[in-house]
Amino acid sequence: MNSKKILLLFFIILIIFPPHSFAYEKDILIGVLSHRGDKATFKHWSATAEYLSNTLNKTFRIVPLDFNQVDEAIKKEKVDFLIVNSGIYVNMEVKYRISRLVTMNNLVNHHSLNVFGGVVFTRKDRKKINNLSDIKGKSFIAVDETSLGGFQMVWRKLNEHKINPYKDFSKIAFAGIHDNVVMAVLLGEYDVGTVRTNILEKMAEDGLIDLSDFKILSPVKHDTFPFLLSTRLYPEWPFSKLPHTSNQLAQQVAVALLNKSIPHPSNDKRFYSGWTVPLDYQEVHKLFQELKLAPYNKRTPFTLRDIIRKYWTWLLATLIFILSMAIMSSWVFKLNRQLKRSKVDLERQHDLVLNSVCDGIYGVDTEGHCTFMNKSMVNMTGWQPEDLIGKKQHEYLHHTHPDGTPHPSDECPVYHTYHDNITRFIEDDVFWKKNGSSFPVEYSSSSVRDSSGKTVGSVVVFRDISERKQAEEAARKYRADLTHMARINTLGEMASGIAHELNQPLTAIATNAFASIQMLESGSANTEKLIDILEKINHQAEHSGEIIRHLRQFIRKEQPERSLIDLNELIEDVLLMIKPDINRSDVKVVRKFDLHLKKVLAQPIQIDQVILNLCRNALDAMNDTPTEDRILTIATQSSGDNAVIVSIEDTGSGVKQDIREGLFDPFVTSKANGMGLGLSISMGIIDAHQGKLYLDSKPSMGAIFRFALPINQENNNK
């Protein structure tokens, strides 16, 4: 121990205070696998370094390397030479192109050997274990997974016997130290063990075991090899140079070392006996190849760890990059899917909306070609999308006016829309169906612009208005029927008066005629007298005829045509009809006519009806008025240049406040026998003439109803 300490101290001093002569020169470093600890390494190899330093006049130093440091030391050129076991050498040879200079001669049990092997053994008393084929299912112990002599050589052998040490044993363990393996088998803890050659012999020599207690499995006899052996022989540790080390230096070192095989002070006789020419390491390569170990298996923990250690920053970066890429792409994918789904949703919604509206909708491009159409359009027109899309819609839908005249496409509102961008509403037109018939439509045509604001066509939304038109016609007819019915009703109420009115001239005519005959028969008549009478008869007959004509006109169903009418004349006609009522009611009629009244465009019978209704109401209103106060005043007047006003004023009891509210509503009446239709129908008529009917306030007794009618300027100027 003392000598070791001194040696170490010496080395430390040498490192810290190198001799002045070497101070400027770079030390030559020999990396040595420090498999038994740094102290042992220095102990074993410092003599060699010293020998080389002395021989070559350079400073050689030993650098202990543990298993993990070897790779990095080579890679970073921390050492110039390397002394490692055959396994590591083969790895480094493949990896860094290091090359062996010499192979160690191991001094073992007084034998100097440059090869070694593995031995498999069991206890001698294990009768059932006699060769390798017997060890399946048994427990097995070796030195170390990475130990060439302590495991891998036997593994190769087992492999050749189709035994997988990791699978075919009941248990496998690694003791770390050769002696422990031997002891574990001796104590029976494991059935079979393996160690490198010469261990058993050395232990026996040291008195630790008795070789006779053991049985060697698959023993191999070798002429030049003195130890128990179960495997091939493999070369011992090589002394190798790194690629950067100069060949000249390497050559000098090799020569020096080979010379060293001659006993030399630097040799540690207890450890090795010198160096030989380099052996072939092919068997080691083969072993690794067969067992698929590094360097022939990148996946060995060593290589992977190495890669991880070497490139961890890159790996981490790559991993992060891949991870973030994955996250990003999944995000993009998700986004894309969402987009796709929304697009599909939108399209579906678009279609759904388009196809669920009742109105027909179609698009037109700037060429007038139909671009799309919805389901309602198909239903309404009978045109299928394939009939219209891409075709000029005007020529299919819109070619002819309702009256049969052709509708040129340059007059088509749809075409105009995308030329001037003005939205158009057409209230009354027809579209043509596929079956050749047409139907009334109202439609709008609006221009469509793209995102840049450029007009790309127009969209037409249309509606079949057949039903509405029919309803309008029905409503118009209903109003006309109601109005007519009211006239008939009025006439019914007036019938006795009218009959009387007709009776008078008829009576007079009959009587005058009879009298004339009498006179002629009796010869008492003279011509002058008779002419006089006949003129009377003529006049009376004409008067009757007039009344009847008026009645017939009044009772007739209305004609929708309007004509220019003179309201003064119309009022006189009405007064003629209600003359019996006026007479019976003892009412004085006052006319206040504007003699320059302009004509109005109206339906005469309807206006007749209004005046008649208002006059009869006026007469009825004066029933309770003293006879001398009963005055019906009818006035006409111009209201500016564009309207005429007719006023009908009575001296009756007036319109009570509680009736005023719904005065013009149907079935509102203050009369015992009235239907309450007169004013509502009159209101309807005046409304239809764009006029206004209203009750005016009156300071004294009675009521004034007025109605205003617009004058058709154009017609009056004719």
Partner: protein, 203 residues
């Protein structure tokens, strides 16, 4: 003013009025026209003979009102009602109130003339009856109170003897009064006297 039978026409309608007048003229009947019932009442002399043609419906006083007014008089010319719109109740009322006829316009002119002639005849008859009644009344008024008393008893069917006892006179006195009554009343028989008593409302 002569009292020749005249047709009085009351109608507010001038045409009808003049036509009727012409009709009357054509058969030689004198006629006078009035445009309303009021005017007729103001101007008409009840003693004049003939008939009245009146329209039911007129402003102011109607034909039926006029008829009612005339009915209060002892004697008036028969009334023919003409109407443009007669209904049965109105006709019944008019006839019950004494109208001789109810004619709807336009009427058959011959029927009208017949009706007019019938009315004039009736008027004449009415006028005859009325003048006889006036005569009887005049005769009755000529009787002394005693004679009126005897007249009363006689038409009540009492015998002379009973009358004499009731009056407290002799039977011959009663007979003398009775002869005087018969003579003054120009009655040939007792039944004549009874008829006169009926007209005089003594029974």
């Amino acid at each position: 003013m002569s009292n020749a039978a005249t047709v009085f026409i009351v109608d507010d309608d001038e045409e009808v009025r003049s036509a009727l007048q012409l009709l009357m003229e054509s058969v030689g009947l004198p006629s006078e026209t009035f445009s309303s019932a009021q005017i007729f009442l103001e101007q008409f002399d009840l003693n004049r003979s003939g008939c009245i043609i009146v329209d039911v419906r007129m402003p102011g006083m109607s034909g039926l009102d006029l008829q009612a007014q005339l009915a209060t008089e002892k004697l008036h010319p028969p009334i023919i009602i003409i109407t443009g719109h007669g209904d049965v109740p109105m006709a019944v009322r008019a006839v019950q109130a004494g109208a001789i006829d109810f004619i709807e316009k336009p009427f058959n002119n011959q029927a009208m003339l017949d009706s007019v002639h019938r009315a004039i005849e009736k008027d004449a008859q009415q006028r005859g009856e009325v003048s006889r009644l006036l005569d009887i009344e005049a005769h009755f008024n000529e009787l002394t109170p005693r004679e009126k008393e005897v007249f009363q008893y006689v038409v009540e069917g009492k015998r002379n003897k009973v009358i004499a006892i009731d009056m407290g006179v002799s039977q011959s006195t009663v007979e003398a009064h009775r002869a005087k009554v018969m003579e003054k009343m120009a009655a040939a028989t007792l039944s004549d006297l009874m008829r006169m008593a009926l007209l005089l409302d003594l029974l």
